[in-house]
Every structure is written in structure tokens, then in C-alpha cells.
Amino acid sequence: MTTVRESLGGRRVAVCVGAGGVGKTTAAAALALSRALEGGKVLVCTIDPARRLANALGLATLGNVESRVPEHKLAEAGLRPRGELWAMMLDVKRTWDDLVARHAPDPARRDRILRNRLYQQMSAALAGSQEYMAMEKLYELSTDRDYDLIVLDTPPTAHALDFLDAPDRILDFLGNETARALLAPALGAGRFGLRLAQLGGGYVAKTLARFTGQQVLSDLGDFLQGFQGMYDGFKERAGEVRAMLARPETGFVLVASPAAAAIEEALAFHERLHAESMPVAGLVVNRLTPDLWPAATPLPRAAELAAPLAAAAASAPDLGARLAATLAEHQAMAAAERRSLAGLLARIGAAHALVPRLEGDVHDLAGLARMADRL
């Protein structure tokens, strides 16, 4: 069977997706490291706010620009890469600002949008904003830079599918057809605040103002007006991003744990990728309880452990009982996990890796390299 690493072999973009807390960041970094070891210029891009990736890679901090993991750090971990490993942490606000700057027809318009209070809140806090910007940055990096492979660690969304839906939601937000049609004359006249009163009757506008306050409406009008003419640029760009995600040189890596919720997310994501003809490169299941005892054989009772324990000069008299109970619990968990995973593994034809719960978390490059071996 091919490994997840091999399955990513010819690809230029890898997107790690999955529920929160399943080890996406670690999987992304391990995949990037393994390609760098084989030769190739590789970038791993995260928005992990815990800066754990930076720590694991031996970098003090990660910023919105790429930084190379120093060779001596890799050497200290006993690693001799034939390629280069780069890392960066996505800055959502900066990426938004860059995007606005790219599409604004002139500096005045750019500044007007960047100053708008609604824009400032939207770029920082709007649901889906992070996901949209992660894709945007990925596209920019894959077109403007010469990496052999870019691995994207996706944001910790409440639901993994948010990652694919976010751009559409934001675009809908920016370019809502109804609003545009209704607002076009008012926007054209440049007197949004006044003309709003005529839309749907003055009563509607007044009632709306009762909820939000007049200031919010003025900000909104100012924002939409500033944004006029830029929407098509945004939309075109989003289309290109989507096309990039569907290309064969892209591969999604589903990351899950044996927890029911994580498996459900992975399945839902897989269905969705399949429906949209987006390429799945593999599945990584982290934190698996290792299977230590053949299922067909009855588990050992305490008495059966007593003799070998005595032979090994093990001391405490109840150690056998505690070990028998521990093994039984362990195997019950291992069996339950494998039952929950069976459906997912059957559904996903792509390469998969089952990674046992590491004894201690991955803190450093050596740990990442050990993880990479499992992938």
C-alpha cells in the first residue's frame, strides 16, 4: 500500500483538514519535514495561534513571512535534509489588507476601505475570515513562489467543512446580489445614507437604525461604496483559488483521531471533496491506541501473569491483577477505536496512516521526524 508521504509525492500543494485537536498542525509539519528530508524546497503554513509549530521547528517566532528552519537546528536533531524546510504563520488581518490593496483601483480607495470600522471588524472577527485568507495566502504562495511543496495547516474551525464554505460565504457577504441590485442607484448617487430611507420604505430604514444605530448603517454604506467595482476582482480570484484546489497537483490530507466527532468530520469532508472532484491524497488517524493482543485469543487473567512475573522477580503481589485489568481496558479501547474507524477506512480508498498515541507529545524536530516515519 502506498503511504501518505508517497501519495503526496508528485504534488505541489497539500491541505491538512480535520476537526480541532486531532493533530493537524503536527501532521502538516511532519509531512513538510519528510519531503524536505528527501530533497525539495518545502513550506509549511499554519495559523496555529499556540505557536506550537514554531516551537517544534526550533524557531522562536513565526511571522507572516516565510522563514527557513536553520540547518544547524535540523542537524542537532540528527537530520540531514537534502532539501529546505520553510515555515510561516498566517496573519489574517495582513492578508486581508494585502488583498484589498491588490484590488483597489487607487490608493485613496484602498485607504478608505482600510480605515472603515466595519472592514476592520470584518477582517479580524468575521466567521470564515480566517479560512478565506488561508486559501488566499495559499494561492498567492503557490503562484508567486518556487516551493516544490506547500503544506497548509487549516484553521481550527468549529466544523471542518467551514474551510471550503468560507470563501463563498464571504463573497456572498461582499457581493450580495439583492443588496447590490437594490443599492446600485443609491451607491451610484453617492448618497447612501439618504437614499437608504427610500429602500423598502423609510420605516424599514428607521427600524433598522433602532437596532443598530445610525452609525453602523453609515459605516456599512461607506464600506459598500468603497468596495464598489472591486467585487469582480475578488470573485475572479476566488474562482482561481477553487480551481487550484481541484487540480491533481493538489492533495487534501484528512486528519482525524479515533474520537467519534473527529471521524464524523473526516467522513463529511471526504464526501464533500468527492462530490466536488477535489483530490484526496490520504488520511492520517492520530492518537490511536495500539493493538497489543490478538482479538481471537482470550485476554490473560491475573493468575496467568503471576508465574512469569515471579520468574522476572517482580515484587508487588497484586501487580498481575493490575496488569490484567490494564490490558483488558487497553484492548477494549483499541477495539472500540477500530470499530469506529472501520467505516471511515472502508470509505476512503486513498493512502492512510494509523499513528499510535505518541508517548509524550511532539515537541521538537526529532519528534516530528519520528512522526513522519509513520506517515
Binding site: 480541532g20 423598502g200 433602532r210 456599512l220 490490558l327 477494549a332
Partner: protein
């Protein structure tokens, strides 16, 4: 049970990193409160798949308030339904609400205002907290099964953000009473849930700072969930590492023991770290070897909570 002070507030917000067992703890707290004779409402926030009612063995309640078990009511607060209720409350008349809120342009605007969805959802929850029926509070306790860390802070920050940015008016007025309720330690507390693992502990320490500092809310307790038992002492753990290479049956049994000992030892370290950093009334819940999360598991968690409730005040 009478000393279970955590449940004596009017609103208890339960939050923590994703996957640490917030919802299970919430359901168990609801059971304990109901058994102490309280009328309880458990609110989930815009859950794609409701979990509290099913954990209690009841069908999902949807956006309406339904009784899951005697004395325990559940609801899933959605932006759409909360907006409708809020609109009706402010506008008083359904026809006016429909004329305004069902207007496509208005709906677009309402979606466009950052924080408004959070505000109406939180508003719905807090409205339930202060609601009265027949001269007494409608609920003795409202439990908010809040979203995970970042999203929870975003939700709870909305009233103060609006107080800071919105000029006087009805929205500002609502934000003010909501904020006052949230920061009143007599009425509102936050329970932080974590696992004795590296990332969840890091996150809960950071969250504690945000809740006290940025949100100005009182943290009532820390719940450390899924603590593995310390089954082997240090000497035995070393011995097990040696025996793990033995042939079956001892080898695999020793390996299982070795892994358990490592986990328990690491969990112990992270627990010490959380306690040292947080100085909060703390409850440690045992790791349950269950594959299915349902009413039986919730009962076990409730029993563990009742056996060792977080003590009030600083230890």
C-alpha cells in the same frame, strides 16, 4: 449536595478547548442541579448537531425549549430564531416584525453587522437568565454549553464591544444590561474544562486570563476531565518498561501497563501545572473507559462531580 456552590449562581458558562468534554460536564451538572430540586435550562449555541438532550437520553430540542428530563430543559440557540425572538420583543408586533425582518435587504444588513448574530444568541440566553414567571425566576440555573475557547471569548465579548462602539440606543441599552449580568460574580460564573494534556492545559491557562482580564468575568471552577488513575508507582513503571519485551502474555500486559503509567505520569504533571497556574477550586474527574457516550456515562460523571465538587473559595 447542598454545598455544591458551583450551581448556586443563576448562570454558569461552561467552556474549554474543543474535545475536552464540555458538553458531558454540562449535562452532568444539569443532572446534579435537577436532583437538588432546581429547575435548569441548558443552552447550546448554534450546534450543528445537538448533543445535550441526546446525552440525557432525550430527543433533540431544536431551537425551542423542551423538557429533556424532569426539571431539565434544553435548547439549541440559533441566530435565525434568536433574531426573530429579539425582533419580536423589540417591535412588539408580528406584522411589523415580518415587514421589517423578512425584508431581504434588511436580512442582508443584519448579517453584515459584525457581532449581531452573537449578540442576539447571547441575548436570548441572558434573557432566559433574568426571565420571571409568577414573581419568581423562570430558571433556578441556566447552563451555557459555550463554544470552544476562541469562539466562546468572541461570543462573550460582544456586549462589551458594543458598549464601547455603539452610540446610545436600544442596542446599546441591551448590551449594557447583558454586560452587567455577565460580570456580576454573584449571578454569573465560568467553569473551565480541560484534559490533563499539554495543549488543553496551555489553552485553559490562556483562557482563564482572557475570561478574567478581557471579559471581566468570574471563573468559578476548573474541571480536569478524564484523569487516568495512578495505577503503578515509579519503580513499577521502570520495571514494566523492562518486562514489555517479555513473550506473551506478560509482554503485552506489561506494555499496556507501561503505556498507562506513562500517560498517568504525564497527566499528573499537567494537572500540577494547571493547578499551579490557575489557583481555582478544582475537580478532577476520572478517565472512564467507555466507548459510547450516553446517559450511563453522564451518570458516572455526575457521580464523580458530586463526590468531589470544586470547593468554593481559594484552596
Amino acid at each position: 449536595m447542598a454545598s455544591f456552590g458551583l450551581l448556586d449562581r443563576r448562570l454558569l458558562v461552561v467552556t474549554g478547548k474543543g474535545g475536552v468534554g464540555k458538553t458531558t460536564v454540562c449535562a452532568a451538572l444539569a443532572l446534579l442541579a435537577a436532583r437538588a430540586g432546581k429547575r435548569v435550562l441548558v443552552c447550546e449555541v448554534n450546534a450543528t448537531r445537538e448533543r445535550v438532550a441526546p446525552l440525557l437520553g432525550a430527543p433533540a430540542s431544536g431551537p425551542f425549549v423542551r423538557e429533556a428530563l424532569p426539571g431539565i430543559f434544553t435548547t439549541n440557540v440559533t441566530p435565525h430564531e434568536a433574531m426573530r425572538e429579539y425582533g419580536l420583543m423589540v417591535l412588539k408586533f408580528r406584522t411589523i416584525y415580518e415587514a421589517v425582518f423578512e425584508n431581504r435587504l434588511v436580512r442582508y444588513f443584519l448579517r453584515m453587522v459584525p457581532g449581531l448574530a452573537e449578540l442576539v444568541m447571547l441575548g436570548k440566553v441572558l434573557h432566559e437568565v433574568r426571565a420571571e414567571e409568577g414573581g419568581r425566576p423562570r430558571w433556578d440555573l441556566v447552563l451555557l454549553d459555550a463554544p470552544a475557547t476562541g469562539h466562546a471569548v468572541q461570543l462573550l465579548r460582544v456586549p462589551s464591544a458594543l458598549v464601547d462602539t455603539v452610540p446610545a440606543g436600544p442596542l446599546r441599552h441591551d448590551a449594557e444590561w447583558m454586560q452587567a449580568l455577565l460580570v456580576d460574580p454573584a449571578r454569573t460564573g465560568v467553569a473551565l474544562v480541560t484534559l490533563p494534556e499539554e495543549m488543553p492545559v496551555n489553552e485553559v491557562i490562556e483562557l482563564d486570563g482572557l475570561v478574567r482580564g478581557e471579559l471581566g468575568m468570574a471563573v468559578a471552577a476548573l474541571v480536569v476531565n478524564a484523569m487516568p488513575p495512578a495505577r503503578f508507582d515509579a519503580g513499577e513503571a521502570a520495571e514494566l518498561a523492562r518486562l514489555a519485551a517479555a513473550p506473551p502474555p506478560l509482554g503485552p500486559a506489561a506494555e499496556a501497563g507501561r503505556i498507562q503509567a506513562l500517560r498517568a505520569e504525564a497527566a499528573g504533571r499537567y494537572l500540577v501545572r494547571a493547578r499551579a497556574a490557575l489557583d481555582l477550586p478544582t475537580t478532577v474527574l476520572p478517565l472512564l473507559p467507555v466507548a459510547e457516550w450516553g446517559p450511563a456515562a453522564v451518570e458516572e460523571i455526575a457521580a464523580a462531580l458530586a463526590a468531589a465538587p470544586p470547593a468554593e473559595g481559594r484552596p
